[in-house]
Symmetry: C2
Subunit: 233 residues, 2 copies
DNA sequence: CCAAAAGTGTTCCGTGTACACCCATGG
DNA sequence: CCATGGGTGTACACGGAACACTTTTGG
């Protein structure tokens, strides 16, 4: 490396990994996708999904690849969280881990991969402290990032299927923040935001009256993702 | 590495660097500390200050050390920004760079190091596009992070000396946001926030009347850093 | 006495918040 | 006809935004 000057003789390359903090909403609860480690150390413990970055791929590509390898899902909302690099964070060696968090829609898609790699499982976020290494710290940080982000960017939609009802959307936000949100104010804000495109159909699966389906407006979504929008939570 | 399974034969450790995005306010302007590269490639171009992470130090420690080596300053506000890892980001080799941004008080302290390492210089933030590699991207991201943060956390104080006037504080915020802020509303907000401890002295250097000096309340500062506080910018 | 910066209060408007009732329908 | 979830409107309080004049004092 031509950049290395003599004073940096103790500079050596470091193993670099990506760890994925994957959120989904099941029922009314925010869940985290983890797996049971099969290899020592910590075999049997809960761990985030992670792999090493290859030398010929960018870290974002690595994150996408890793998510795909582990879940079979592509084109997923994914965001870099933070880089974790304490010397002793991993007793197996000096590994710098880049955390990425993502939101996935828990619908039929997810069922497939959940069967496929049967060691993965969804856990409730109050079990975060059971994670190995500094994974609890990562997950905690990811949650506060998610909440922070959700207040100003319309990311709640990433957790829903293409077509959804306002009730489902409300449920998602309540799961993210883990506290109740006023139904009427929520509807007002959402409808005013122009993020929703009303569809001429109803979902009758949960009530006799049926509730209108919406899809979300990609255009407004991208505009508001940039500009920011105060949802007032 | 016992973690490496056969499928990861192309996993090799990567060089890991820290790049520092250092902000300071000079006069009424937000400035960035950079240096003129002496080594090829890009000798003569503007570059952020960066060094490699050693194998026996954590990345946060590395960031602190690097800032110290390059500026002589310690105990500086410093925050991890983002990890940059495109394969081709550095033509000199595969280097993953972790960006850290910091705020320094531009007073007598800084004069020292500015003399010491005479290749470093403060540039106006509208010269960011002149930076080499992906350093412009880093600096742009750091600015938006800084602004975002400044809206909710009382970080403006990090850019001021121990004792300062409300006028100076206002100047700092105007420099950060690059637009004028209403004087009277600003004072109201700041005084109400309990972040300021009034001192029984005046600074007469800038006016005949003299303006009161304040120091900032560390306790409230830490509380509000955690809780967040809407400064309304 | 005047120039130059420091300091102070009020009004208005918009928006978030709290809150309670009617609607539609399948069984 | 009634139980169940879906959908709607209003009144109030608070906080942010806009805005102009008085104070001090060194020269």
């Amino acid at each position: 490396m031509k950049y290395l000057s003599p004073q940096y003789e103790d500079v050596k390359p470091l193993l670099t990994a990506v760890d994925c903090i994957i959120f989904g909403v099941q029922g009314t609860e925010l869940k985290l996708l983890v797996f049971k480690r099969e290899i020592d150390p910590f075999a049997g413990c809960l761990s985030l999904l992670g792999r090493f970055v290859k030398v010929d791929e960018g870290i974002n590509e690595a994150a996408g690849r890793i998510l795909f390898e582990l879940t079979g899902l592509e084109n997923i909302y994914m965001e870099q969280l933070h880089c974790f690099g304490r010397v002793d964070r991993d007793p197996g060696g000096r590994v710098v881990a880049i955390g990425y968090w993502s939101l996935i829609r828990v619908d039929q898609n997810h069922m497939e991969f959940n069967v496929r790699s049967h060691e993965t499982m969804w856990i409730s976020i109050d079990r975060i402290s059971e994670l190995v290494l500094d994974h609890s710290e990562m997950a905690e940080l990811a949650i506060s990032n998610l909440r922070e982000k959700a207040r100003f960017k319309p990311i709640g939609f990433e957790l829903l299927p293409e077509e959804f009802t306002l009730g489902q959307l409300l449920t998602v936000y309540q799961a993210i923040f883990d506290h109740p949100i006023d139904d009427r104010n929520f509807r007002k804000r959402m409808l005013k935001s122009e993020l929703l495109i009303p569809l001429p159909k109803k979902d009758k699966s949960t009530s006799k009256k049926g509730s209108f389906l919406y899809k979300f407006n990609q255009e407004t979504y991208h505009r508001l993702s940039k500009e920011g929008y105060n949802f007032g939570f």
